[in-house]
């Protein structure tokens, strides 16, 4: 359903897992929502109350045409207009590595939302490590097809980096899913070596403790 016909690769493998995870009727914010395909799908399948943010005018126009509410602008500026806890889920799909200020983006995501869903390409994948080691050049793979001089990816992070980041920021990892280059699920223990894409479901520990205390 999220696959493009004639293409053997899933359009966006993370979409399917995000969809499974998002509860029915949830309030969802999608950062870097692109043409709104994910939100449109979530609205139709999960009756979510969704909103997207994107910088790209043509993507924003596409969202509006699809009937997906969208804000044309920077994600940090856009998130600043929402009160704390405005959303159940805030999605950042394959964009963290392109953010100018990923740390602030994460903070804001967990301010406006109860849970953050973050997917990113894993720079710790063995093929990337090998390319760097053997060729001594910036790696190019199917999930990271750009040259160093034209890549939109500003940040180089691995699965382990992200786990470390969560620990440092006192974030609770609720769930995590990893995929290989061939879009098969990868076991957690080998993820940093075998995963080409990672999805993390993260909550604020403090916030969660507050909720438990009631």
């Amino acid at each position: 359903m999220l696959r493009e016909s004639g293409d053997e690769m899933p359009l966006r493998i993370d979409y399917e897992y995000i969809e499974t995870h998002v509860p029915h009727g949830a309030r969802v914010l999608d950062l870097g929502c692109g043409d709104g395909a994910l939100l449109e799908h979530l609205i139709a399948q999960k009756a979510v109350d969704g909103c997207g943010i994107d910088m790209d005018e043509s993507a924003v126009r596409e969202c509006i045409s699809r009937g997906v509410p969208v804000y044309h602008g920077d994600m940090l500026e856009g998130m600043s207009m929402f009160a704390d806890g405005s959303f159940d889920c805030v999605i950042l799909s394959q964009t963290l590595q392109q953010a100018m200020e990923p740390e602030r983006v994460m903070e804001e995501m967990l301010r406006v939302g109860r849970e953050a869903i973050i997917s990113f390409p894993n720079f710790g994948h063995w093929a990337i490590r090998l390319q760097l080691l053997l060729k001594g050049r910036a790696p190019i793979t199917r999930t990271l097809p750009h040259q160093w001089y034209n890549t939109p990816n500003l940040r180089v992070l691995t699965v382990r980096d992200f786990v470390h980041f969560c620990r440092e920021k006192n974030l609770r990892i609720v769930d995590r899913i990893f995929f290989s280059t061939s879009y098969r699920k990868v076991p957690r223990l080998a993820a940093n070596l075998l995963a080409s894409v990672a999805i993390f479901f993260v909550e604020n520990r403090r916030q969660q403790a507050d909720e438990e205390r009631g």
Partner: protein, 392 residues
């Protein structure tokens, strides 16, 4: 998407209401009546009565938004590019309404209308009207005269966008969707400044005569200068550069005198000024610019968030990159305050090298947005029945 067409030959109609003693109380405290409203409609009202789209016009607009008044009419309505069969606001699908606001000079009651108490034109005895007064009169037309309970969408650019915001605030149940384009929740100091220059140009024309020029020579010089200043604010540095550059008139030679216009841009502005005075009343220009200056939702309601407290419509807010008269940040303020109220809102800043005028010009991106937004609204209004699910 079918072939684009024209709504054809159309006619301005008139409705009179608020006959004394049932005059309309205006915001300034004065009462006005009777009130004539000039309006046009195109397309058919659906049996479900859920396909009415109201267009709110800007400073110099009128009720004649689409089609021609006669077969040899040199110009169609002011937003004919948008409205007609197969166009963005498709008259095969929607029942489109546009009326001239009060204070204007295009058929609705304004300073050039006859004051029933004196039998002479009101001139400056005409009460000061505000954007909310304009909206009240439109509301009376739509609900009392046309018998509609709800509009599918209210659309307007610039001052028209101000009316759209006021509609959504004052009549939340009557506006399913709202589309303010190149607009603001309060006119900026810069906007007031340019309006004041325009007014000063009119005051300083001896023919203005304190507003009493009806039956005599109207203050054409002053009004033309006001229009010239206005026109500069509707363009952009880039659009002027592209349209005129430093291009010279006929001979292509500098004349080194103060005679006829030398630069193309001078000639253009003079032409705009001269054409405008043939169709517009100077006192109306004064009243309407004042209504724009007074428009300030944050101060009227304590804050912009407060202003949108009861809003139930869904919104599509649009701005243009090169619009420096109603810059994008002002649209963003609207969007932020709507979001703070949980209103379902989309915002898009469209790329355009034209300035504020961009909303009046052909723009395929804008036309597609409007077409799709309206179509989505219609699907949803029909699915929801009588509910107004604009609120998150």
């Amino acid at each position: 998407m079918g072939e684009e067409g024209s709504v054809g030959i159309v006619e301005t109609r008139y409705w009179r209401f608020a006959e004394p003693p049932d005059r309309v109380k205006l915001r300034c405290g004065a009462a006005l009546g009777p009130i004539d409203v000039a309006y046009e409609t195109y397309g058919e009202l659906a049996p479900e009565r859920d396909n009415a789209v109201l267009i709110c016009h800007a400073l110099s607009g009128d009720a004649h938004v689409a089609g021609m008044h006669s077969p040899d009419d040199p110009k169609p309505g002011w937003w004919d590019i948008m409205i007609g069969p197969g166009k963005a606001i498709d008259t095969e699908r929607y029942f489109v309404i546009c009326s001239n606001f009060i204070g204007g000079c295009k058929g609705s009651t304004g300073p050039s209308s006859t004051n029933p108490e004196t039998g002479a034109p009101y001139a400056l005895d005409f009460p000061m009207v505000t954007v909310s007064d304009m909206v009240e009169v439109q509301h009376a037309l739509v609900c009392e005269h046309l018998g509609l309970e709800r509009l599918l969408c209210v659309i307007g650019g610039s001052l028209g966008g101000m009316q759209v915001l006021q509609w959504a605030i004052d009549h939340p149940g009557a506006v399913y969707a709202a589309m303010p384009v190149a607009s603001t929740s309060r006119l900026s100091a810069q906007g007031i400044a340019f309006d004041e220059v325009g007014r000063q140009a009119i005051y300083s024309d001896p023919d203005w005569n304190g507003g009493n020029y009806y039956g005599g020579r109207p203050p054409h010089r002053g009004l033309a200068v006001a229009r010239m200043v206005g026109h500069i604010t509707y363009l952009s540095d880039q659009s002027m550069h592209e349209k005129f550059g430093r291009g010279l008139q006929d001979e292509g030679m500098l004349q080194y005198d103060f005679g006829p216009p030398e630069f193309q841009v001078e000639s253009y502005l003079r032409h705009q000024g001269d054409a405008f005075v043939q169709r517009f009343d100077a006192n109306s220009y004064l009243y309407i610019t004042k209504a724009m200056d007074y428009f300030d939702l944050p101060s009227d309601y304590g804050s912009l968030i407060q202003a949108f407290r009861g809003v139930r419509s869904r919104f599509l807010v649009i701005s243009y990159t090169a619009d420096w008269l109603f810059p994008t940040y002002q649209s963003r303020e609207i969007v932020r305050a709507l979001h703070a109220n949980g209103v379902r809102v989309s915002f898009c800043e469209l790329e355009s090298s034209y300035g504020h005028d961009a909303f009046l010009l052909r723009n395929p991106a804008m036309e597609k947005l409007m077409r799709d937004f309206l179509a989505n609204c219609q699907v949803d209004i029909r699915r929801a029945g009588s509910h107004a699910p604009g609120k998150r």
